[in-house]
Structure formats: C-alpha cells, structure tokens
Amino acid sequence: MTSTWRVWVVIAGLILLHLLLHVGFGVGRAAPDLLALAVLTAAREMRVGTAAGFGLAMGLLEDALSALSFGASAITMSLIGAGGAETRDLFVGDSLLFLVSYFFLGKWLRDMVHWFFVGESVRLPFVDQVVVQGSLDGAYTAAVGVLVLVATGFWRDAHR
C-alpha cells in the first residue's frame, strides 16, 4: 500500500472511530475530537478548495447531531480545512514541535470559530469554553494526533 493510500485509510479510520465513540457509544468529551484531527490531517494532503469541501462534509455530519446550531460545524470545519491546506504553503516541516502546534492550534481555532457561530443560547462563556476547555481539548487532540502518527508508522517513515 502506498503512503498516500495509508494516509487515507487512517483518515477514514479516524472518522469512523469518532462517530463510533461519540455517536455509537455516546462517550462525549472523554473521547478526543477525531473528526477535527481527520480534517487537519487530510488538509495537509489536499489543495485549499478540496480541503474546504472535505471540511464542509465533515462539519455537516457533526451538524446533523446538533439541531440547535445547524451549520456552525460546517462553517468551522470548512475554514479549518482551508486553513490547514494553506499551511502547506507556509510551513514545510514534520518536526514534533510543528505537529503538536499544528494540531493544537487547529483544534483550538476550531473551538473558537465554532463558539462564535454556535449561538448564544448554546455556548458557554468564552473563557470557559474556548480558553480553558478549548486549550485542554487542543492539547488532548495534539497528543492523540502524535500518537496516531507514531502508531501508524508515518512518523518513522518521515524520519527515515
């Protein structure tokens, strides 16, 4: 299997696992946001427009389960997808520091944009949801992202 195919298998696996954990098992916050991780990872494989479309599709999936703020995740994920793809032009690297920062900031920005669009009736105060919870979620996502890359062997391949 080529490296590109392996990446897409991992991305598909992340999406399935996210839906299984969050929707199937109803785990909630204890499970990491693997959908955001999938979009951030896929964005580095795609061009800007395609990545935005991929993010939109993932956002709509998430929106289907949140009738109070339908569309908020679609906007957020399409922006994150496009933003992630834009980083290909800005950052060329695969260092641990870059990966951790990329996943952390990606997830944190996702939470912030989502907080902005989700509507006053649903969101918690900015400090609680974005600053505190968003930072924790960002760190969690970054840790899981690095673990996924190590577990799937991509990290080793990149440093050969």
Partner: protein, 324 residues
C-alpha cells in the same frame, strides 16, 4: 509522515482557482447556517437516517442492552408477582372491561404512552436534545410529551418514522403551561440556564403576586394550549425567584426529573392535551413519590446531626418568607 512537504503542484492560476473553490464552499456553509429551521432539520434528519444511521443504531443497541441488564432482576421480581396474581387476573380483567364499558372510560384514558429508549448524540452543543426510539409510525407527533416515572422530561421537537428528537426541560425553547397541584395558581414554567449544565434551573413565571404559594407545593402541567396533557408533575416550589411590581411573582422550582439521569421514557401518542392527572394521583405512584421525598427529608437531619450542625429553618417556610 502524512503531512507532506510543500509540493509546487499548482501554478498561480491553480492557486487562485482553489481559493475560489474554497470561497464557494464557505459561502455554501454560510447558506446552510442561515437556512430556515425546518430545512435545516430536514437535512439533519436525512443525514441521521442515512450516513449516521449505523452509529445511532449502535447506541440504541447499547442503551437497550444496558437497560436490559439493569432490569433483569426487577423483571424477575415482577414476573414472580405477576405469576402469583395471574390466577385471579382473568376474572378481574373481565370485570374491569365491563365496568369501563359501562362508564365509557375508554376515551378518558388517552393519551396513551409508548415506552422508548433515550439516546444522547454526544455533542456538546446538543446536550439539551436527545433521540427517542419511537417515531411517527408509533403515533408520536411534534409536541408529544416525554415523561418518566417522576414527571415531565421534555417535549418532542422533531419526528421521523422510527425515531424522534426531543428537547428536555433545560432547553432554552422549552415552555410548559403549569399550575399548582391544588389548582389555585397558574403560570409558565421555563428553564434558567446555569453557568454549567448541572446548574440549570426551572422557573415558574406569571403567578399572581398575592397567591399563597409555599415551598414544596407540587407544580403540574395545566393543559392550557393543548400541547401538554394536564396533570404531569414538573417540579416542586423551592423559593421566590423575583417579584415584578406588585403584580407577578416567579418561583424557583425543584425539578421532578433530572434529564441527565433519564435513560428510558414514555412518549405520548395520539390526541394531545388529554388529562393524565390520574396517572400520578394513583395511590401507588403518589405513595412512591411521598416515600422518596420522606427518605430525602429524613437523610438531611441525620446528616446535620452527624456533622454537628444546628437546625436550619424548615423549607416549607422559605417561599412565603422570601416574598414577604
């Protein structure tokens, strides 16, 4: 590493085209965001019924399995009791049917309720919504009440063939016309969002300023507007929330149901608005509620004694004291 190094695979035109596509995608996402609620719900339903169906079915199966495991022991006890009573049941049923026919009670027993499992989507922004495993084919309609053995859990908001989306009483759109159990005062119950989910509270608004309302009085649905049937317990009066001039008073309520703990519910089917007050005023249910409340009251002094604290004022004085 899945994050590839920069590859110059696009010229200036390609880059512009990609950004144009990204702009179109973003505009489409904005369009989705500003669609009317009904259209959004149709789209969400379509996704839930197709791509997400296997995952929702997984949660249904898990909830069912969890409930089954928990209920086996209880069912065994009930089975033993029922078996013992079965011998006399036939005669009683026949007698009951005859008496009902005579009194024409059939219509008064509606609306019927269908048992359903509660499924939580798991998103942070849909915590106040849940799926129930009954839908329009079971007779559920928008506005059907969702109850459990303690009282009102919420209201159905959207209906599909086999599942429905309901909001619990903590939802900002939730309203219920309510009355005191003794029928002396009426108002509207709504949720007051707390700093965090467990801090959400219930308020009874619009009651007359001079109404004699004391802490602990049960509040039931009044049936006004024919959305919710009359007589479903909502909560108990806790204390005065605020007064508006000398006309109106609103009260904090202690909810009968804590939505987070609900795993299995009954969903109203058929004609909305029919009274169900007899269901909770039956000796068995009332007795159980009273016994539970007594246990809670007994535990408070015991806890206070064990902690060596002095006695607090009785809660029954709180509401009228607060208003004065």
């Amino acid at each position: 590493m899945p994050l590839p190094a920069f590859a110059p695979d696009q010229g200036a035109d390609g880059g512009r085209r990609q950004r144009f596509i990204a702009g179109v995608v973003f505009a489409f996402a904005l369009l989705v965001y500003y669609l009317p609620d009904a259209t959004q719900q149709r789209a969400a339903s379509a996704l839930r019924g197709s791509v997400l169906r296997p995952f929702i079915a997984t949660q249904e199966a898990l909830v069912e399995a969890r409930l089954s495991a928990r209920q086996v022991e209880e069912l065994q006890r009930q089975l033993d009791t029922l078996t013992a009573r079965l011998a006399t049941h036939g005669a009683l049923e026949d007698e009951n049917r005859t008496l009902r026919d005579l009194l024409e009670l059939g219509d008064r027993l509606r609306p019927a309720f269908r048992p359903a499992s509660v499924l939580r989507p798991g998103n942070t922004d849909s915590e106040r919504l849940f799926l129930v495993s009954v839908g329009s084919e079971d007779g559920v309609s928008v506005g059907s009440p969702v109850i459990d053995q303690n009282g009102l859990v919420g209201v159905v908001r959207e209906v599909r063939a086999h599942t429905s989306v309901a909001m619990d009483w903590t939802h900002p759109d939730f309203r219920a016309s309510a009355m005191l159990a003794n029928g002396t005062s009426y108002g509207i119950v709504e949720a007051q969002e707390g700093a965090f989910r467990e801090d959400d509270r219930m308020i009874l608004r619009g009651t007359a300023f001079n109404a004699e309302i004391e802490a602990g009085m049960p509040v039931l649905t009044s049936g006004f507007g024919r959305v919710l049937p009359r007589g479903i317990p909502i909560g108990r009066v806790e204390s005065v929330h605020q007064t508006e001039g000398e006309w109106l008073t609103s009260y904090w309520l202690v909810p009968m149901v804590h939505p987070a703990s609900v795993t299995h519910v009954l969903v109203g089917v058929g004609e909305p608005g029919q009274a169900v007050i007899d269901v909770w005023s039956s000796p068995g249910v009332t007795g159980e509620l009273l016994r539970r409340e007594q246990r809670v009251r007994d535990s408070v002094p015991a806890l206070r004694d064990s902690a060596g604290l002095s006695a607090e004022p009785q809660p029954s004085d709180t509401a009228s004291e607060g208003r004065r």
